[in-house]
Amino acid sequence: MNHYELIVIGGGPAGLAAALAAYEQGLRKILIVERDKELGGILNQCIHNGFGLHHFKEELTGPEYAGRFVEMLKDTNVEVALDTMVLEITREREVHAVSVAKGYQVLKGDSVILAMGCRERTRGAIAIPGDRPAGVFTAGTAQRYLNMEGYMVGRRIVILGSGDIGLIMARRMTLEGAKVLACVEVMPYSGGLNRNIVQCLQDYDIPLYLSHTITDIRGKGRVEGVTVSQVDARRNPIPGTEMHFDCDTVLLSVGLIPENELTRQAEITMDPRTNGAVVYENMETALPGVFACGNVVHVHDLVDFVTAESMRAGRAAAAYVQKGEADDAGLITLKNGDGVTYTVPQRIRPGNVENAEVFFRVNRVCGASEIRVMSGDTQIAKFKRAHLAPGEMERIMLPKKLLEKAGSELTVGIVEL
C-alpha cells in the first residue's frame, strides 16, 4: 500500500494551498489527487479578472491565480495524481482511487485533507415546471462549454438566479454577441457580489428582476421561451404578473452545493446549514486527522479566503502528523444568533489558536450593523459593519484572550443599528 504523510483530495485552489502550507511546515510525503486532467479546479474556467486582490494584491484571472500555486508546487516534491478519482475514504484514512494510468489504488494517509469543491444546483432541485427542451444549462456548465471548449450555448438568454457565476456569465455571453434579456432573482436581494451586479449587469443594461422567478419553460427541441412571474413574500408566484421572454437558453445560477459524498460515506459529522463537514478552528473535521477546506466546507465567493482557510488546514495537518492530536480542553461551540445562517468553524479549541478566524453569512440585507458575539448573556466582542448582505461572506477574528474568557458556547448574531 502506498503511504503518505498527507493526502489532499482535490487539486483546486483549496487543495493546492493546503498542500503547499503542509510542505512549508515540513511534510515531505504529500500527494494531491485530482480527477481532472489538470490542477486548478473551477478556476480554470473562470477566465475573467478579479482573483487574488487580497492574497496577491493584484487582479488575476482564475487560471493565472491557480497558475501561481501550480508554479510554487514545482519547487517542492509534492506528488500529483491527475485524472484520478477518489471513490472512497475510510475512517482509517485509506483513500481508494481509480485512474486509467494506475488502475485501482488504495493509499494510506497519516492525514487527509478534503478539498473537493462544490457542484451547482440544477433545475430539478428547484422544480421549475414546463417542457424539458435542450438549452437549459447551469451557468457553470455553460461557462465550461464557452471558456474551455469554445462553443456558444445560445443567442437569447434568460438567467435565473443572481449568484456570481450567473452574473459573470451574463457579461461573458454579452461579449460573445448573445443578448441577455434578463436576470431573474427570487429573493428580494441579489445572491452575488455587489461589484458583479455593477460590472456584469448594470454596465451592459441587463435588467435584474428581484422577487421574480421563472414559472414556465417552453420548447420542443430547444428552449423557445420562458414565463417570469413576480413572487410574494413567501416566494409564491403572484398570478397576473407574468412576463414572457422569447429566448433559446436558460442559465441557472441558483446556488452551489458542497460536494461531500466522500465525507458522508466516511460518516464524518456534517452541518446541515453549510452542507459541509463540521470543522474545528484549524479546519479539522470530527474525524481526527481528516481536515476540510474551501468550497467543500462552505461556499466562498472569494478565492482569497479559500486560500487563507486552506493554508490553515495544511498547517494543521502537518501539526497533526508531527505532534499528534490537538488539545481540546475548553472546547467552545459556536451558535448562530439572530440573522446568522451558519458559522465556520462550528467548534473552537482555544488551546489550539492565537486568533480564531470565523466566517459566516447573514440571512438578510442590512445597513449599518453590529456583529455581536455573546457568551450566555454577556457580550464578549462586537464588530461594526456599514453593510451586510447574504451574498457577501463575513469574517471576524476572535483573539485568544477573549476565547479564554468564553464559556462552552458562543453565539454570533447581528443587530441592525
Binding site: 486509467v100 457542484r119 440544477t122 471548449e149 427541441g221
Partner: protein, 477 residues
C-alpha cells in the same frame, strides 16, 4: 419484404421484437424517434404491478400476472435492474379498508401470489415513515421495481443481435393493403411486410386508423413526478400506493432500482400526447397527495421532475387483437403496460400465428446479455476490469460513478445512442443529483470522438435538441 413490421419501439414493440427474434422470421422495427424507448416507456412509475388491479377476466388481468412471471425471468437473463420489493396499498379510513379487501379478493381471483392484508401498525413496522393515519394495507410480495427503459433496451438489443432490423427516425405515415401483405409508408421510404404490429403507444389510434375502421379513441393523460436524491431513497422499502377512491388513484412513493425515491404521478388529460412538460399545478398536486402517505416528506432532495403520457383510451381493457387481415393491434396499453409487456408480446406471437404466419423456433438464438456496471463491482473486480480496459479507470459521471469504459461500451452496443440522454439511458451517466451538469460536456466529447459526430451537432435527446449553436469568437479565429 419482411415477414413482420413492428411500428413503435417502446417496451411493447421491443418485447414483441425480442419474442419474434427467437422464431424463424424476418422482422423490422420502425421507430419515429432517433432512439428507442422515448415514449411512455421512459417516463412512468417503473413498477412491476402484482396484478390485483385489473378486473378479473380481462386481458389486462391475465397479461399483467403473466408479465410479472416473465419479468422475473427476463430481467435475470438480460441483466436488467429489477428488485422484487413488494407493494403496499394503503387504506386511510373504513371505506379504504373495504377497498383493500376488494383488491385482495380481486387479486386472488387473478392468480396473484402471496397477497395478505396487514394492519396499519404492521405496515408502519415495515415502513417507519408511514403516516399514523394508515389503518390497513394490502401486501403484494410479487410487485417490484424495474428500470423501464433498460428493460426495453435489453430486449431490442438482443432482438437486433438475433437479426431483427431496427430503423430509427422512421415514422410511419401510411398503410396500404397489398396482395402480399402491407405496404408501409414512412419518412424514410416504403417498407413491405406481410404482417404489421401496431405498438405505437399514444399514437396507436392513428396507426390503427391507417389500417382499419376507427375502433377506439386514445385519451392522452399526463402523469408528473418528483425524483429525489439517493439520500432519500431509503424513505420507502416497498412500493407504497394509496387506495384508489372517489378522489382518484392517489400517488405512490417508491424507491427506484437506482436507489432514488420516486413520488407521483399526477393525472391530467392532455391535449397533445407528445407534450410531456410538467406544470405547477400537477407538481403541487403530487406534493399534496404524497403528504397523506408520508407527512414528513420534504422536497429538498429533489433532483428532477418529469412527466409521462399515458395512452389512456375509451377502452376498459388493452386493445390487443387482429383488426384487419395481417394487422395486429397492441394498442391502448396504459398501466400496467410495462408489467404486461412481455406477455403482450407472447400474445402478439399467438395472434400472428393465428393469421397464418408460421413461426417455428430458431435452432439457435441469443437470450442473455451481460453488462459491466462498475459501481456495483467489488474492489477486486474493479481492479480487474480496469486492468482489462483502462477506460474503466476514468470516472466521467461523478454522481453515479459511471466510467468512460461503460460509456464507450454503450456507444458500440447493438442499438447505439446518438445523444447525451441516449448515453444516460444506457450507461447511467447524468442520472444523478447533478443531472449531467458535470458530465454532460464530457459525455458529448466522448460521443463526438466515438461516433464522429461534430460537437456543434450534438443532441441532448431527440431530433432538434441541439445543445450548442456554434463556436465562440475566439475559437473561430
Amino acid at each position: 419484404m419482411f415477414d413482420v413490421a413492428i411500428i413503435g419501439c417502446g417496451v411493447v414493440g421491443a418485447a414483441t421484437a425480442f419474442m419474434l427474434s427467437q422464431r424463424e422470421c424476418s422482422v423490422v422495427v420502425l421507430e419515429k424517434e432517433n432512439d428507442v424507448a422515448t415514449g411512455a416507456t421512459r417516463a412512468n412509475s417503473a413498477i412491476i404491478h402484482a396484478g390485483y388491479d385489473p378486473e378479473p377476466g380481462t386481458k389486462m388481468a391475465r397479461l399483467n400476472v403473466r408479465g410479472v412471471e416473465l419479468a422475473q425471468k427476463l430481467c435475470k437473463e438480460l441483466d436488467v435492474p429489477y428488485i422484487q420489493n413488494g407493494s403496499l396499498v394503503l387504506a386511510f379510513d373504513e371505506t379504504d379498508d373495504k377497498t383493500v379487501e376488494k383488491l385482495y379478493h380481486r387479486g386472488v381471483e387473478n392468480g396473484v401470489p402471496g397477497l395478505e392484508i396487514i394492519s396499519g401498525d404492521e405496515a408502519r413496522k415495515r415502513e417507519p415513515n408511514l403516516s399514523k393515519q394508515v389503518t390497513s394495507a394490502l401486501w403484494a410480495p410479487s410487485a417490484g421495481i424495474i428500470n423501464p427503459w433498460e428493460y426495453a433496451l435489453a430486449m431490442i438489443e438482443t432482438a437486433v443481435r438475433n437479426g431483427v432490423e431496427l430503423r430509427r427516425e422512421c415514422a410511419v405515415t401510411g398503410l396500404n393493403k397489398t396482395d402480399a401483405g402491407w405496404s408501409i409508408e414512412t419518412t424514410k421510404g416504403t417498407v413491405e411486410a406481410k404482417y404489421v404490429v401496431n405498438a405505437a403507444g399514444v399514437h396507436s389510434e392513428e396507426i390503427h386508423n391507417m389500417a382499419a375502421e376507427p375502433a377506439f379513441k386514445i385519451i392522452p393523460n399526463r402523469g408528473e413526478y418528483y425524483l429525489m436524491d439517493k439520500s432519500d431513497g431509503g424513505r420507502a422499502n416497498s412500493v407504497l400506493f394509496q387506495c384508489p377512491s372517489a378522489a382518484g388513484k392517489g400517488v405512490l412513493i417508491s424507491p427506484t432500482v437506482g436507489g432514488n425515491l420516486i413520488v407521483g404521478p399526477s393525472a391530467d388529460n392532455a391535449e397533445d400526447g407528445d407534450c410531456v412538460g410538467t406544470t405547477a399545478a400537477g407538481l403541487a398536486s403530487v406534493r399534496e397527495k404524497a403528504m397523506k402517505t408520508m407527512p414528513d416528506l420534504t422536497y429538498r432532495g429533489a433532483i428532477r421532475n418529469f412527466a409521462g403520457m399515458r395512452a389512456n383510451s375509451d377502452q376498459a381493457d388493452f386493445f390487443v387483437q387482429v383488426s384487419a387481415p395481417g394487422f395486429v393491434d397492441l394498442a391502448c396499453i396504459k398501466s400496467p403496460g410495462l408489467s404486461a409487456a412481455p406477455a403482450i408480446a407472447e400474445e402478439a406471437v399467438v395472434l400472428l400465428e393465428g393469421e397464418g404466419l408460421a413461426l417455428p423456433a430458431k435452432a439457435e438464438c441469443i437470450t442473455t446479455r451481460r453488462r459491466i456496471i462498475f459501481n456495483e463491482l467489488t474492489q477486486e473486480e474493479k481492479a480487474k476490469v480496469i486492468a482489462g480496459n483502462p477506460l474503466y479507470g476514468r470516472v466521467i459521471c461523478r454522481c453515479e460513478t459511471i466510467t468512460e469504459g461503460e460509456i464507450v461500451h454503450s456507444l458500440h452496443c447493438p442499438v447505439p445512442p446518438v445523444s447525451i440522454d441516449g448515453v444516460k439511458r444506457r450507461a447511467g451517466a447524468g442520472l444523478g443529483r447533478c443531472q449531467g451538469g458535470f458530465c454532460g460536456p464530457r459525455v458529448a466529447e466522448i460521443i463526438a470522438r466515438e461516433l464522429g459526430i461534430p460537437m456543434v451537432d450534438m443532441l441532448k435527446d431527440t431530433a432538434g435538441t441541439n445543445i450548442l449553436i456554434g463556436e465562440t469568437k475566439q475559437k473561430n479565429k
